[in-house]
């Protein structure tokens, strides 16, 4: 059993805001108990899958490790019970990350052909225009800005809303609800604007989901009346076995696409700028060799790990990494840990855009690998391709801060000072 101290740290949203604290805890777990059970206060016990290879092994076998049999993210015992009372299911939202088997394959298939690298090539110019707009916006700050708040939260939002078919005037609403959902433990960004208990947090979360469902109910009507190639139209008009998606499937799809579709990329973009601003020679390297930007993007994904974990539930007795896993056991796939795994990454705590290959596993692996990964990579590459040639220098102008969260999170403030060419 992992010590209670370590178990509490890897479940504590504040430890992720600290960064070093959670990395130290996972380093200790990898060294002493790489696949062991943990039981933080107020949680049911779960296996911590801390090694890169073991996570791949779990994700390679989706029939043995389900997403949707219990909460898909680390949830206190009482919160999970409340969700079951509210929805009759273990997850508040029935989305791609909380379903399995045929349902998952069918749902994924509705959008997948439209987000492959080939399909996205047609969007490159459109995204580049958006990137230029946000580069101009940044440079208009006259030498100093909070890159997270002023650029990183806004640019991926515009990109995904364009892909989904959400009008620009609705972007502030979508950003606020996304932050209220994923930053539920952070008093600066959550709905209550204060510290909340897990129960209060869940009530706020349910209210956020209700607001999103009200919004997307109108979206369905709009795109059923006038179908387009936008992703929201694909969801509104998508069919499985000749039937439209049911209410929970449809709402879950809209919500995951609209929220996870930009928050993860925003976090990574902000974290990439943080890494760049701390390394004075990196900007010139990127400017001298624009071909290295793809490596910079990949390393920033490894570095930030915008999704800290997902949970799985064993469907039968099995074995992973030499440990016997029993049916119904709950497992934490600790991507934060796997992306620092010393057996895979040389100098894992160094930010090194030249890693080749970079086996970062932040998008997951196997059947549930991130649907939007190619869009995420592309939009970040384009932003840096547009921004770097226009910068002369960049540095931190204050202390960056991470969001208080143990699930989907990254930097919320990255104060920078820059000079433009």
């Amino acid at each position: 059993m992992i010590s209670t101290d370590l178990a509490n740290t890897i479940s504590d949203p504040r430890a992720y805001a600290d960064g070093d604290k959670v990395d130290a805890a996972f380093a200790a777990i990898r060294a002493t108990a790489p696949l062991e059970k943990a039981q933080p206060d107020n949680y049911d016990p779960f296996w911590v899958v801390s090694r890169h290879a073991d996570i791949m092994e779990v994700e390679r076998q989706p029939e043995f490790f389900h997403n949707g049999d219990r909460s898909t993210f680390l949830s206190p015992r009482e919160s999970e019970a409340m969700v079951r009372a509210l929805t009759g299911e273990p997850n508040l939202i029935r989305s791609l990350v909380s379903v399995d088997g045929k349902e998952h394959k069918d749902l994924r298939g509705i959008v997948f052909p439209h987000v492959t690298p080939r399909a996205l090539k047609g969007m490159e110019e459109q995204i580049r225009v958006i990137a230029r707009e946000f580069v101009d916006h940044m440079l208009s700050f006259d030498g100093e800005c909070d890159f997270a708040m002023d650029v990183a939260f806004l640019y991926p939002l515009r990109v995904i809303m364009t892909v989904l078919g959400v009008p620009q005037e609705d972007e502030p609403f979508m950003l606020r609800l996304t932050q209220e959902m994923f930053s539920n433990a952070d008093p600066e960004l959550n709905r209550a604007q204060k510290e909340v208990t897990p129960e209060e947090g869940l009530q706020n979360l349910a209210a956020v989901v209700q607001d999103l469902e009200n919004y997307f109910g109108e979206v369905t009507k709009k795109f059923r009346a006038n179908p387009t190639e936008h992703v929201n139209s694909l969801i509104a008009n998508g069919m499985i076995d000749g039937e439209y998606l049911n209410h929970r499937q449809m709402m879950g799809y809209y919500i995951i696409a609209a929220t996870a579709g930009h928050d993860t990329t925003s976090n990574t973009t902000g974290g990439a700028m943080w890494a760049l601003a701390e390394r004075p020679d990196l900007l010139k390297k990127m400017q001298d060799d624009p071909g290295s930007i793809a490596g910079f993007v990949e390393e920033s994904i490894r570095w930030v790990v915008p999704v800290k974990h997902f949970m799985r539930t064993a469907t039968q007795d099995t074995e992973i990494g030499g440990r016997k896993i029993a049916k119904d056991d709950w497992l934490m796939l600790a991507y934060q840990s796997a992306n620092r795994d010393e057996s895979v990454f040389d100098r894992p705590f160094d930010f090194d855009p030249t890693r080749a290959p970079n086996k970062q596993i932040a998008f997951g692996y196997g059947a549930h690998v991130c649907l939007g990964q190619h869009l995420a990579r592309m939009e970040m590459r384009i932003l840096w391709e547009e921004l770097f040639p226009r910068l002369k220098s960049i540095e931190l102008s204050g202390k960056p801060e991470r969001t208080i969260s143990n699930f989907v999170c990254g930097p919320k403030h990255v104060p920078i000072r820059f000079s433009a060419n």
Partner: protein
């Protein structure tokens, strides 16, 4: 003597293409050799392209 069937794994998501089984849902009949898969084919799980991303022979 004919070559034994081989298997290829997508480095991005781990999807396995087995020449013996093909990928009938993508129009690749059982027995379709890796070399005979069109260059514009992509991984049915993650979209990684045959021409852009290396796939490894694992057996």
């Amino acid at each position: 003597m004919s070559q034994p069937y081989r298997r290829w794994r997508c480095l991005n998501c781990g999807f396995i293409y087995d020449e013996a089984e093909g990928s009938p849902e993508d129009g690749l009949a059982p027995g379709t050799r890796w070399e005979d898969i069109p260059e514009d084919w992509y991984c049915p799980t993650c979209g990684t392209e045959k021409i852009d991303f290396e796939m490894i022979e694992i057996g």
